[in-house]
């Protein structure tokens, strides 16, 4: 009996399905929503709250792109992906943009045919360990049992690090962050390793965060960024320049508070170009000229997004560090808008 439901759905799905391959922009505009791949739940980066509303650092990128393309930051369908499913989801067109703290590596870019549109967080793999073990350096971890969240580059970095330093260890691969926490807190592993930002987020959720220390060694470079399918340059450009607009907005002091005021027109041609009061950058992207205005308006500039989701005033409490603007000694450097 239920057969017909499926067949009905099938016909409808087949009839309404557009071509996903080359024209992501028009697909997204026809659909009216953007599908954005995120994690299955990492507090601060992407996690649903009790009402099912997604929020977080990566989520803000999705919302900014949706605001730029569709004019509505809430026109995003969040698709939770695991480390295993994220790349297929993107390659098969199930999602339009993957913002799931994904490390930009050579093979992912070249061999798996994806296009990283920039870096929204410079991260590195670190270790967290209970204070009572009295370990102060990762070089003292010989013989330890290490909990790893699988599906990331962490396993490889870990194997390399311990091999290089000629130490033994027992890896305990865990699928989800919640279970890794449980293992770590029960003492089933001595050390928990993942990206330093993830460690901070995890530690923030503990009952007594001060009982745990994050070791000073960062054993890998993990530039995290959103990515799109290879070969669809229009869409890639939109995502890339939306991210750049967020970063540039912080540099030029455009905030969600003063953006309406600045939009009236300023002395700075760069701000004017970003906000679309001068030039026609938006049209070149195939959008209107207010695209960046909407993107910034959605969640604020890069610095605001950082402060609101993972900054020092949040429980996660990450400092800007490498992610400060280049003018403050960080690596955030948006190319010029001209």
């Amino acid at each position: 009996m239920n057969k017909s439901v499926i067949l009905g759905t099938l016909t409808v799905a087949a009839l309404s399905a557009g071509m996903a391959s080359a024209q992501t922009v028009s697909d997204v505009q026809d659909r009216g929503t953007m599908n954005c791949g995120v994690t299955t739940g990492l507090v601060g980066f992407a996690a649903p709250d009790a009402n099912g509303e997604w929020s977080g650092f990566d989520v803000a990128v999705c919302r900014a792109v949706a605001a730029a393309v569709l004019g509505d930051p809430s026109a995003v369908e969040f698709v939770p992906t695991t480390g295993k499913t994220r790349f297929t989801a993107l390659a098969s067109g199930e999602i339009d943009l993957l913002a799931r703290n994904t490390t930009w590596t050579f093979t992912r870019d070249v061999d798996l045919k994806f296009e990283f549109v920039g870096i929204n967080y410079y991260d590195g793999q670190g270790f967290m360990i209970p204070k009572e073990l009295g370990v102060s350096s990762a070089r003292e971890l010989g013989g330890a049992t290490v909990c790893i969240q699988t599906g990331t580059t962490t396993e490889l970095n870990l194997a390399d690090y311990f091999r290089k330093n000629n130490m033994e260890y027992t890896p305990v691969p865990i699928e989800t962050n919640a279970e890794a926490q449980q293992q770590y807190l029960a003492g089933a592993c001595d050390v928990y390793t993942t990206d330093a930002s993830g460690l901070a987020a995890t530690r923030a959720a503990f009952e007594t965060p001060s009982d745990h220390v994050i070791l000073p060694e960062i054993i890998s470079k993990e530039p995290l960024g959103p990515l799109v399918r290879h070969g669809d340059n229009e869409w890639g450009d939109i995502a890339r320049w939306t991210l750049n607009a967020l970063i540039a907005a912080e540099e030029y002091g455009i905030t969600s508070a003063n953006i309406d005021e600045l939009k009236e027109g300023t002395d700075s041609p760069e701000i004017n170009r970003i906000l679309g009061t001068e030039g026609n950058l938006g049209e070149m992207l195939g959008l209107d000229n207010e695209w960046a205005y909407r993107a910034i308006k959605a969640n604020g500039n890069y610095g605001e997004i950082f402060a609101k989701n993972i900054g020092e005033s949040t429980p996660i409490g990450l400092s800007r560090g490498l992610n400060a603007q280049w003018t403050d000694g960080g690596l955030m450097y948006a190319p010029p808008f001209r």
Binding site: M1, I6, L7, G8, G41
Partner: protein, 430 residues
């Protein structure tokens, strides 16, 4: 004793004694305990061991259950209220009740729709499950139910399920028209007719007519997702299972081998690999540009999985029928479809019902595996968003216990029904 000797003994009782109660050790509780618990020394040891096991289990669980906190906004608040005492933090269930049942993305103002669909499910399956008690006319509602449930749960225009139903009805009419001539003609004609109707109606503007707010499949979650996957896949897999079982019994070697390879392949791999296929591979095999959502891909794979198992159950039923039934059908001059439809399948299916119910229960339990491919069913909700949230990080027992309880109630209920049905069917089979 004869009268002759009566005077030769000192005393003779002349009236009957009142009946005495049996000795205390041979009656009531004591007797029951003696024969059922302490009949032999090994038995007594076993009893004591069992008592000890029961005691240690109860003494651990009882205070945890009884001291449970049902109203607290978070785990830390809960621990504060408990203040070191043993007790469960069941407030996670009350706080996240809707998430556990519906997932976290189903719009909360629409919860009445799946709830209504769930209640109507009982009305729909009652005449199927208890065919003797309920009037046959209720089967009409059963036939309508799938479309109604689809409309309620997914929303959108009522025309979509309605047109799907129209296609099916058209198919049925064509089948009924031609089946007298040839089953194959009727069958394929019916399918073609249904597809033609669907294809034509696909051009109709369906938007907005009697429309409920549409909800996307990826917003389904919680126990609702388990129920949807379980019921849809089981009901879909029964016709496929019958076809596969008949194919495997067939005397046409190519058809037989296609079925054998399919069944053995599916039964030889774990469900989880099939779910991986649904999740990461299947998209590559669909036409470029089409984009089935995950729930549909998962339904396809689980249905394939269940069909293979149901086919084996039905094959057992077919094999269990006496050969005489096949021969009788032949001697009546029935052709293959007629023999199957009128004689073999009704009996074979009846024997297979308990087996099919077993497969259904197993499948329903296996729907929890979708949590591994990042779908938020009941287990996925628990392992994912709820345990990852800052409020409820560390509430394992209450959540896992709740999940186990829900599944236990459902599956135990179904298996009890199956046993009842088996007895029911046995009496009239002699």
């Amino acid at each position: 004793m004869s009268d002759l000797h009566a005077h030769s003994v000192a005393y003779v009782r002349e009236s009957m004694l009142d009946q005495q109660p049996p000795p205390a050790t041979e009656t009531g509780v004591v007797k029951w305990m003696r024969s059922n618990l302490f009949s032999t020394i090994p038995n007594a040891i076993l009893t004591l061991l069992a008592l000890w096991a029961l005691w240690s289990l109860l003494s651990g669980v009882a205070p945890w259950l009884l001291n449970g906190i049902w109203t607290a906004p978070s785990l830390s608040a809960c621990r504060e209220i408990l203040d070191g005492a043993t007790g469960g933090c069941f407030s996670v269930l009350t706080e996240r009740w809707n998430q556990l049942l519906f997932g976290f993305q189903y719009p909360s103002e629409l919860y009445w729709r799946p709830t209504l669909a769930f209640v109507l499910l009982f009305v729909a399956i009652a005449p199927v499950l208890f065919f003797n008690t309920f009037p046959r006319r209720m089967l009409i509602f059963t036939a309508i139910y799938p479309f109604l449930a689809y409309w309620l749960i997914w929303g959108g225009s009522i025309l979509v399920p309605l047109l799907a139903a129209v296609g099916l009805v058209a198919g049925y009419f064509v089948y009924a028209r031609f089946v007298a001539q040839s089953f194959a003609m009727g069958f394929f004609g019916g399918i073609v007719a249904a597809f033609v109707v669907w294809w034509i109606t696909g051009f109709l503007p369906v938007e907005g007519i009697l429309a409920l707010t549409p909800v996307e499949s990826r917003n389904m979650g919680g126990f609702m997702l388990n129920l949807i996957l379980g019921s849809v896949c089981v009901s879909l897999s029964i016709p496929f299972g019958i076809a596969l079982a008949l194919g495997r019994q067939s005397r046409m070697p190519i058809i037989k081998w296609i079925c054998v390879v399919f069944i053995e392949f599916i039964r030889g791999v774990p469900l989880i690999t099939l779910l991986f296929v649904a999740n990461v591979v299947l998209a590559y095999f669909l036409p470029p540009g089409t984009n089935f959502d995950l729930i549909l891909r998962v339904i396809i794979m689980i249905t394939m999985f269940a069909s293979a198992y149901i086919a084996e159950v039905i094959r057992g039923g077919l094999a269990a029928l006496p050969k005489g039934q096949y021969e009788a059908a032949d001697s009546l001059g029935l052709d293959y479809p007629q023999a199957m439809r009128l004689i073999i399948l009704p009996q074979a299916l009846k024997i297979s019902i308990p087996g099919i119910v077993n497969v259904a229960v197993g499948l329903f339990k296996d729907t929890t595996l979708v949590s591994v491919i990042s779908m938020f069913d009941l287990v996925g909700m628990i392992r994912g968003p709820i345990l990852a949230s800052t409020e409820w990080n560390g509430v394992y027992w209450e959540l896992l216990g709740f999940a186990a309880l829900l599944f236990f109630v459902t599956c135990y209920g179904i298996s009890q029904y199956s046993q009842w049905l088996e007895r029911q069917l046995n009496t009239d089979r002699r």
